[in-house]
Amino acid sequence: MTEYIHKIFAVKTTAKQERTVADNILRVCEGLADVHVLAIIAPDELRGYVLVETPDNLARMEQLVEHVPHARTVLHGETTLHEVEHFLVPKPAVSGIEEGTIIELISGPFKGEKAIVKRVDLGKEEITVELYESMVPIPITVRGDSVRVIERSDESN
């Protein structure tokens, strides 16, 4: 297993400002010679935090955060890439959805409607569904991230 040498700190941000904070950290780092940041991750799955890779200690990160707009605090625990590397390879939006799963559409013209999954396209991350309460079965293809799983199919058990 690869040995990761640098620390990763989680910086708490204002809601929905994760990318702004990442950009701001980059800008502030250019001006502060004694703070070394190697990389910044702002995963979509992790709301309200950005992850900062650095060889420096916590005190330096606290010093950095004071200069960064929309950054609130640094969490006191430190971690390594082992614990956060799953964020670097995002899961496909259709993972956990298979044929027969009952879902609810959460965006688009059919928002709020329940539907049953008929086909899953892993490559395009799309699913084809049929609305539950529709008289005639009309297949609708929607993006994997615009649905919420309500009930998984029994076959998966």
């Binding site: 940041v37 990389a39 702002a42 979509d44 890779e53 890439l81 995002p90």
Partner: protein
């Protein structure tokens, strides 16, 4: 702010954020504005994350591009 950034285009080959109509690194015009996850690499030589992602140039990247 977030809405403006969502429109930013990302190279589908190298996942790098692109300002113009084509990627300056790979030369491709195969761009996408449907992306998720944000990664900034500042020091690719020392960064564990850059090594893990096989990134050798500093810059802004998307973690997932559709």
């Amino acid at each position: 702010m977030a809405a403006r950034k969502k429109q930013a285009k990302v190279c589908m080959e190298c996942h790098r954020f692109v300002d113009g109509e084509s990627c300056v690194i790979c030369g491709t015009s195969n761009l996408s504005d449907d992306w998720a996850g944000y990664l900034i690499i500042i020091d690719p030589e020392q960064s564990d994350i850059a090594r893990k992602m096989n990134i050798s140039l500093p810059g802004r990247y998307a973690l997932k591009v559709r």
